[in-house]
């Protein structure tokens, strides 16, 4: 029981990170109907900018952890968002009317470039991030086992909930959200009705990248070490989360992230940690085969 609870707490933390990345996939897919393959790399760049931000905070002598976290959060979101914007502008916009596979191939190219760009500029070795927040709170003890939730885990879940709330509000209530939903329904019609489609798509990438940056920062704080390759696996898992929840659906992305976190942590905890990634990929395959529209997605009706 105690072990189970501990695993549950860990799983929810991990799931929150995946969910934040998954939103980027699901939003872009909803609007332009393509898999932004480079999104995992955006997350990785977010983690690196956070790392650099924390070191700068250290050099500037900002000792208070909350202040540093907020500063780095804003910094990482702002600068990673520029990457999201640039990727869309360079790799996807010129291909919007090209053949079916073109944007996907271009996305793979972008992903390889970004990975190697960071490897080149920051080196290939893993970067230790140090411990920014330590300590925690013992929930209860059972079977001689302390069930513990760290402050960091609380921060991660809280930040995720706040961002999700804010984000849902943006989509539901603001003009940007309305334009986004309009483009999702019918991009041509939205353009005819005066929605600036280019701007809306750009903003979608910007918002997705900003959320990925948050995920990158949380990942850095949670694991304490990053390298240029983290985007690949995290990206695929987050994409799996988006598909599992139903691609195009925002609550689905969050739910999918949570489920992937659960599967991964419990598989590692109860079966074998070597095959935890195999389990996640297995789930992806099974979902796509048996329920391609995901848990909360709408089935597509083929128009002929």
């Amino acid at each position: 029981m105690a072990y189970f609870s501990q695993q549950l707490i860990n799983a929810i933390t991990l799931g929150a990170v995946y969910g934040l990345i998954a939103i980027g996939y699901t939003m872009v897919y909803g609007i332009v109907g393509m898999i932004n393959f480079a999104h995992g790399e955006i997350f990785m760049i977010g983690a690196f900018i956070s790392l650099i931000g924390f070191i700068i905070c250290g050099l500037l002598g900002i000792g208070s952890a909350p202040v540093a976290i907020v500063l780095v959060l804003l910094l990482a979101m702002a600068f990673t968002a520029i990457y999201g914007w640039a990727v869309e502008r360079l790799a996807y916009r010129p291909l919007r009317h090209s053949f079916r596979l073109a944007p996907l191939i271009s996305a793979i190219g972008m992903s390889i470039s970004l990975q190697n760009y960071v490897q080149l500029t920051q080196g290939a070795r893993p970067k230790p991030g140090g411990q920014i927040v330590s300590g925690g709170y013992n929930l209860f003890s059972a079977d001689g086992f302390d069930v513990r939730v760290t402050w960091l885990q609380i921060i991660i879940v809280l930040v995720t909930i706040v961002l999700m709330g804010g984000f849902t509000w943006v989509i539901a209530r603001t003009s940007l959200g309305r334009q986004q939903r309009a483009c999702e329904q019918d991009i041509k019609m939205a353009a005819l009705l005066g929605v600036n489609v280019d701007r809306t798509i750009s903003l979608t990438f910007v918002v997705g990248a900003a959320l990925a940056a948050v995920a990158g920062m949380l990942f850095l704080m949670y694991y304490g070490v990053i390298d240029f390759f983290i985007g690949f696996l995290a990206g695929i898992k987050a994409f799996t989360a988006a598909v599992l929840g139903g691609i195009g659906s925002l609550p689905g992305a969050m739910l999918g992230g949570l489920l992937i976190g659960l599967i991964e942590v419990f598989w590692a905890g109860y079966f074998s940690s070597e095959y935890k990634d195999v389990a996640v990929f297995g789930i992806l395959v099974l979902v796509l085969i048996f329920r391609p529209s995901g848990l909360l997605g709408k089935p597509e009706i083929e128009k002929v």
């Binding site: 650099i52 640039a86 291909l95 090209s98 390889i112 990929f281 083929e302």
Partner: protein, 474 residues
């Protein structure tokens, strides 16, 4: 879009440079370095690099805008200046910047001359004479390439390095031709192709080291194993739409790799399998001394032993394997199944309405492609005499895919050109080697933007009603 004026162009270039500076500020400007385990990380500031890169981007963007506006001379001068700085032996903060600045110059020059060149080429190929030359050229070009490939080992150039490179390029040509069936003809984006390569390699590695089977006996088994994997994996996933299929094949590729890493009892895990015997020539081995019961190639032919004999033998094996792949693919293309692959790529809905079973048709493409990857894999194991999961990472799939895409999906000769370009050039220019993958990625993006149909976009019909017009008339 005409003549926006110099201030507007400058403003645009400045904006681009500003965005580039913002992108590079942290990732390029602050290089994190280890300073001993206790102190964690420190910065190695790289702002000089950043500044040079931003200036180059400013000039490059300005040049591209000039080119787009039709101001040819300013664009050419800017491009030439950038190219000269890149090539000049002056002190830039890093060697990479020489490449960066130089390539920016080349890009500007290329973009400036592109409309003119493509118009000229277009005119030339449209004229009756041009058509004849073009058709003869494409016909003879393949034969000349083939002749060159066959005689290469006999020429004085055939030293160790060249032969190694030749074997490497031909391996990728074969993989490219195999994947071309899946991606180019059937239009199925397979991001896990390297998994079948791994199946072939491990089939040979295990069967030869455990059961003592020889290369020629295992070759068909390896192909069959890989094709079976293709069928088993393909059956559930081939119903999926294009981009989902890409992700699932990517996932499968990773699953196979993770299994190879973790199933230590069978595969020896990350340490890999060594001591794999090389291929034999009618029972003769390529070594200085033969093990008991065998004789060496040198003894058999009565020539002195030389280390390159083995390489030349490997070279001819992969050349033949690649040619078989090519012939098979060309044959299949002219068969009903091949036409159905292309039809599926064009419109799956229409295929279904014509009574074509999409799943089975895709499955054959998938399995045939996998089979050739299996052949290539067992060749790889026999050549390296060692396999480990590290050789079968996603990036290998991406390289093979980019060869197919760059070559022009569906074009066989395009694959050869792309393999020489993508594999050969980086090996020759060693100092570009470290930036190879970066160049790879950017090339994929640029090709999709400027020439989405690849280097060779021409498609030859599989069947004609009228005899092919020769020479003029047309």
């Amino acid at each position: 879009m005409k003549a926006s004026g110099l201030p507007a162009l400058l403003k645009d270039a400045a904006l681009t440079a500003f965005v580039a500076a913002a992108l590079g500020l942290f990732i390029v400007g602050f290089r994190t370095v280890d300073v001993g385990s206790t102190k964690g990380l420190a910065f190695d500031y790289q702002f000089a690099d950043l500044a040079v890169a931003v200036v180059a981007i400013f000039a490059g963007r300005l040049g591209l805008s000039f080119a787009a506006e039709g101001a040819r001379w300013p664009a050419l001068i800017l491009g030439a200046v950038l190219g000269a700085i890149g090539a000049a032996p002056i002190e830039l903060p890093s060697a990479f910047l020489h490449w960066f600045v130089g390539l920016a110059g080349l890009l500007v020059i290329g973009r400036t001359l592109w409309p003119w060149a493509s118009r000229r080429v277009g005119q030339a190929t449209q004229s009756p004479r041009g058509r004849m030359v073009g058709r003869a050229g494409t016909r003879w070009f393949s034969w000349i390439l083939l002749a060159a490939a066959v005689v290469l080992p006999l020429t004085p150039f055939a030293d160790q390095k060249t032969m190694d490179l030749g074997v490497l390029i031909l391996t990728y040509v074969m993989l490219g031709w195999g994947l071309n069936i899946v991606v180019g003809l059937a239009g199925l984006l397979d991001l896990g192709y390297v998994a079948f390569y791994a199946v072939g390699a491990y089939s040979y590695a295990l069967l030869s080291t455990q059961w003592g089977l020889g290369f020629w006996a295992v070759l068909p088994i390896a192909g069959a194993m890989a094709a079976t994997f293709g069928l088993v994996l393909g059956f559930p996933v081939l119903r999926l739409r294009g981009d989902y299929l890409a992700i699932v094949t990517l996932g499968f590729g990773e699953i196979i790799r993770l299994v190879l890493v973790n199933w230590v009892d069978l595969t020896n895990g990350p340490a890999g399998i060594g001591g794999i015997p090389g291929p034999t020539f009618f029972g003769a081995v390529f070594a200085e001394t033969a093990p008991a019961g065998h004789r060496t190639f040198a003894e058999m032919m009565g020539v002195p032993f030389a280390a390159t004999q083995r390489l030349i033998f490997l070279y001819y094996i992969i050349l033949v394997l690649a040619l078989i792949t090519n012939l098979f693919a060309l044959r299949m293309r002219r068969l009903p199944v091949g036409r159905a692959w292309e039809a599926l790529r064009e419109d799956e809905t229409a295929c279904r309405a014509l009574g074509i079973n999409p799943t089975n048709t895709k499955l054959t493409a998938f399995a045939v492609g996998a089979m050739f990857a299996g052949f290539a894999g067992s060749f790889f194991a026999a050549k390296q005499r060692f396999v480990s999961p590290e050789s079968f990472v996603f990036i290998e799939s991406a390289i093979i895919l980019s060869i197919v895409v760059l070559g022009g999906m569906g074009s066989q000769i395009g694959v050869v050109l792309a393999a020489v370009l993508l594999i050969g050039l980086p090996e020759w220019f060693r100092d570009l080697g470290t930036y190879r993958m970066l160049a790879f990625g950017l090339a994929m993006v640029l090709i999709m933007a400027f020439r989405p149909r690849g280097l060779i976009a021409h498609r030859e019909p599989t069947v004609r009603l009228q005899a092919e017009p020769r020479g003029g008339g047309g």
